[in-house]
Symmetry: C2
Subunit: 206 residues, 2 copies
Amino acid sequence: MKPQKEIIREANEEKILQAAEMVFANYGFKGATTEKIANEAGLPKANLHYYFKTKSLLYRTVLEKILEEWMQAALVFDKYSEPSIAITHYVKSKMEFSRNRPFASKVWANEVIHGAGVVSEFLETTLTNWLNDRIEVINKWSKQRLINNVDPQAFFFMVWAMTQHYADFEKQIQILNKGKPYSDKDFDKKKEQVTALVLASVGLNT
Amino acid sequence: MKPQKEIIREANEEKILQAAEMVFANYGFKGATTEKIANEAGLPKANLHYYFKTKSLLYRTVLEKILEEWMQAALVFDKYSEPSIAITHYVKSKMEFSRNRPFASKVWANEVIHGAGVVSEFLETTLTNWLNDRIEVINKWSKQRLINNVDPQAFFFMVWAMTQHYADFEKQIQILNKGKPYSDKDFDKKKEQVTALVLASVGLNT
DNA sequence: GTCTATACGTTGATAGAC
DNA sequence: GTCTATCAACGTATAGAC
């Protein structure tokens, strides 16, 4: 059985991390204050600093959690060997991530826009390796004439950009949607449309 | 002939606006300090506040300039009536904007991610009108069987996301490109690839 | 129009009682 | 582990001499 203190610690850290993700997403690193995060987590600022010594450390911890989930979503690409099925599942997985974890997507976007100071190591190693392997898969499919002869890198950038756009530019999308946020049904339709566009872009019919 | 003071004013405002765009792009609104901007513009902080009373006003002025350019690039869509030509020119125009004005794109992305507090009015009026008109164009093309039957809104979001991705996620793209920024030649190739993907996505061949 | 010095608010972080 | 009080650093904005 876990000691009482450890249980408390884990619960509080979790509350803080969730609050931090939201506040960092909405205000950026500098714009986010430890006080806002603490309020959102429902505890005094001093407690936040007790659990996370510095704001910087808290930010890095938030990003680490996001990276784990990013990789988790990426695994879907390898689950199926048939191009249209693999791509469909991957796009849907990315769209669902945007829908369910919009703050995570925004924190990520923010971090990269401002120079990826924290995540550059991840980009240089894990993500580079992941992408290079998947580029080979796309090239293989092209050679087998299963899909159009596309630039694999441009293809992945397209999928990332399109799917993350629905999280990062949520506000713009909402305004252009007559001011109303997408309902679950709306979003499901967009998920289908995005998938159809991606499949067509490499020459696959739906 | 313009009075001397006016000439000085215009020159200094221009220097400040350019510096501000870069600093806002790289550090976000809160992360950008008036001192950094002033240094970048090559004048003391007090002068910056002489030309732009507050940081907020400076930020809004930067955004207004970006909006004008955004609309300018959007005009290209209407220059040609044939779908593949219109789309090709529009995508290329957006890609060139990302290439030539990466800071503008980043400031915009940042602003929208954090809730579009300043640009929401533009989104509600000008951009909504622009998009609604262009949606009709896409629908017309669909009905005439000139392009696939696609969701016009999803189509434009795709183009915006894909093209702006090359500016906003510049750093990530650079790292995934063996650490080297795209040369002009690299970028031209990507421009072609992006155009090909977009055309194919609506059923047009290249 | 330029610039140094400075006032004043905000915020990250800590001390120290409970 | 919790929380109030507090401080030092920073950053916006201005006063006032040139």
